[in-house]
Amino acid sequence: MNKTRAVYITLLFVLLFSHAYTDEDALSIIRKVDEKQWIETSKSELSMLVFPEAGDENTFREFKVLSYCRGNEDSYMEFLYPRTIKGLKLLSKGDDQWIYFASTGRRRKIASSLQSKKQSVKGVGGDFSYEDLGNGKLEEKYSFTILENLKNKWVLEGKPNKDGSVYSCIVVHVDKSNYLVTKIEYHTEEEGHYKDLIMEEVKVISGKQTATRMTMINHDRESKTVVIIHSAEYEVPIDDKYFNPTRFNK
């Protein structure tokens, strides 16, 4: 009897601590992912191809962007092409965003609410919302648990830590060999499985493994947007003016 009880108690402890071990594992995985993605500064040139119908590869609009990032909070984007929006600038600092219209010379603050963050960039469109273009560590924004532990990857589910997120949960696929994110599924209360972000064509750029092709598929609109990184430099000096809300447009 005592032996049986001891077995049951042991099993109970194993179950309890395995759950705790799994959660800690999820946290340590995400921390390694954030560490892998962490950059002090970066400069990159990229193209954004907007496909209004995901299945039609011939119909798309192309945008070329110059992007500067500082840590995980600050990012600056300047549109170089098409010429209709050349000079359009977008600054994200934490939860706040500003947009500068070169044609009129006016700078506006974007309402930093839930729904506004869900919108795509005015004049650009596409499936990357303001929230997607903003920054922040995954660990800070979401709490993760492991959904699946496969041979080559982990699949983790993240629930937002704060009320201000557009997404009700995200599902992150992490490559075990290099702790790089290969896919993120975005879920919302309204749309359910709303979007997928697929990261491909990993290359070593400036000593850092970088997914140079990112595809955002919007299941609600049945559209997709592809971001291709042409060049990138990491840990380079960037003038503070690019991250100053009153100065980034100059």
Partner: protein, 423 residues
């Protein structure tokens, strides 16, 4: 000994030059771009449900822009504009129909009243650490209002300009002092009055005819706020008028609603030819308040803006059309409401409808439009202007000049097409 001292001096100077030139030079960049836009409209006047007459107009606008960055802390920008205005979109055609007291155009054989080539913007920007200095012919676009900008006191806007988006350049200097990332002091000194007249007068060189503006901008969590002082100088038929304004501006949002407000309150220290009236804050206040919201269920952007122009007239009998023709004011009345809806549909199509209501006399104008992005850099659009209002209301458009001549500024109904190629 002399030779050794000479060599030492050369080494010291070379070292100093090397130290001073350290990190001064970045890769030089040059960028040339621009657009060509053509706007054509047909306008129709209806009476008793019949079309009485029709007119047409066309504007061709070529805008060339250039950016140069010769080194890290220097930037140069220029914009050259060529405009051809024909038919009812050439204000001189309108002026020919009434006697405004101007000499006839054929007395100026060397003037071109149709084509115009100008260097609209030409400015240099120098970054001196926490100070930026900008000088030249600069677009000084203050304020966050969408249609009306009470704090933009350096330029006027022509009611007839339906093609260009850019703010006109003003000769002057603009300086910005950045106190971290949360606050900035911006000041400008302009070297021309708001009318941007193209002739000189003996009073041009007087020091008290120099416009200026100064404001402090503060970044807060929900709103960006600014407040300042502006001196406006405007040359009119009665000579130079000088006014001082206290200005405020805020831009941000609450929840899903984007909000902004811009005000300019004229101070009771102005010297104008018509001064002498008792000061009233309501008559000297200009305010634009607005908001925008996206109705996600129908993917439609809604925008509203209320505008109060204290110096405007609430009674149509007091309307002075010359204030519009001389670009002293953009509109005549006191209170306006702007409403617009915009929605994308299919791929690369966009439908919009804007409206502007004169809340005092009940007249209004509607401007529906459909636009299509044919290619990345080619857009076409078609739309209409529909003016409505009782006789002698602002958007009815019929005015009397000098008590006798009739002038119709609006014409009941206009259809337009616009094409724009960017390069």
């Amino acid at each position: 000994m002399m030779k050794r001292e000479f060599i030492s001096i050369i080494i010291i100077i070379s070292s100093l030059c090397a130290a001073l030139s350290k990190n001064t030079y970045a890769e030089e960049t040059v960028s040339l771009y621009g657009y060509l836009a053509n706007y054509f409209q047909g306008s129709f006047i209806f009476e008793d449900n019949k079309m009485r007459t029709s007119t047409w107009g066309d504007i061709l606008l070529l805008r060339l822009k250039g950016d140069w960055t010769p080194e890290e802390n220097l930037h140069f920008h220029t914009e050259v504009s060529f405009t051809g205005k024909l038919g009812n979109l050439n204000p001189n055609v309108l002026y020919n129909s009434v006697d405004l007291g101007f000499p006839p155009q054929d007395q100026f054989p060397y003037n071109d009243f149709i084509n115009e080539l100008t260097i609209d913007h030409a400015w240099g920007l120098v970054n001196l650490g926490s100070i930026d200095l900008q000088f030249g012919k600069i677009p000084i676009a203050w304020g966050t209002g969408y249609i009306f900008n009470p704090t933009t006191k350096t330029v006027t806007t022509s009611y007839i300009d339906r093609v260009s988006e850019e703010t006109l350049g003003t000769f002057g200097i603009v300086s910005s002092f950045y106190m971290g990332e949360k606050s900035t002091i911006i000041a400008y000194l302009a070297f021309q009055d708001r009318s941007h007249k193209n002739f000189t007068t003996k009073d041009d060189e007087r020091g008290n005819n120099l416009p200026f503006g100064m404001k402090t901008q503060i970044i807060t969590n929900s709103f960006d706020i600014s407040f300042g002082l502006i001196k406006e100088v405007l040359h009119t038929q009665d000579g130079y008028q000088r006014n001082y304004y206290l200005s405020t501006d805020c831009d941000g949002g609450i929840g899903d609603l984007g909000l902004y407000a811009e005000t300019a309150a004229r101070l009771p220290v102005s010297r104008t030819s018509s001064s002498g009236k008792e000061y009233s804050i309501e008559e000297n206040l200009e305010i634009a308040v607005g908001g925008y919201y996206t109705v996600y269920g129908i993917d439609t952007d809604v925008r509203l803006e209320y505008y109060h122009q204290g110096k405007g007239e609430s009674r149509k009998s007091k309307y002075d059309i010359m204030k519009i023709l001389t670009q002293e004011q953009l509109v005549l009345g006191e209170d306006y409401l702007f409403v617009s809806l915009e929605r994308p549909f299919f791929h690369y199509w966009k439908a919009s409808c804007g409206s502007l209501f004169n809340l005092n006399d009940g007249s209004f104008v509607l401007f529906p439009e459909v636009a299509y992005d044919v290619y990345n850099n080619f857009q076409i659009s078609a739309g209409s202007f529909i003016f409505a209002g009782k006789t002698e209301t602002e958007f009815n458009g019929e005015f009397r000049i000098n008590g006798t001549d009739e002038l119709d500024l609006t014409e009941t109904f206009s259809l337009f097409m616009r094409g724009k190629i960017c390069f």
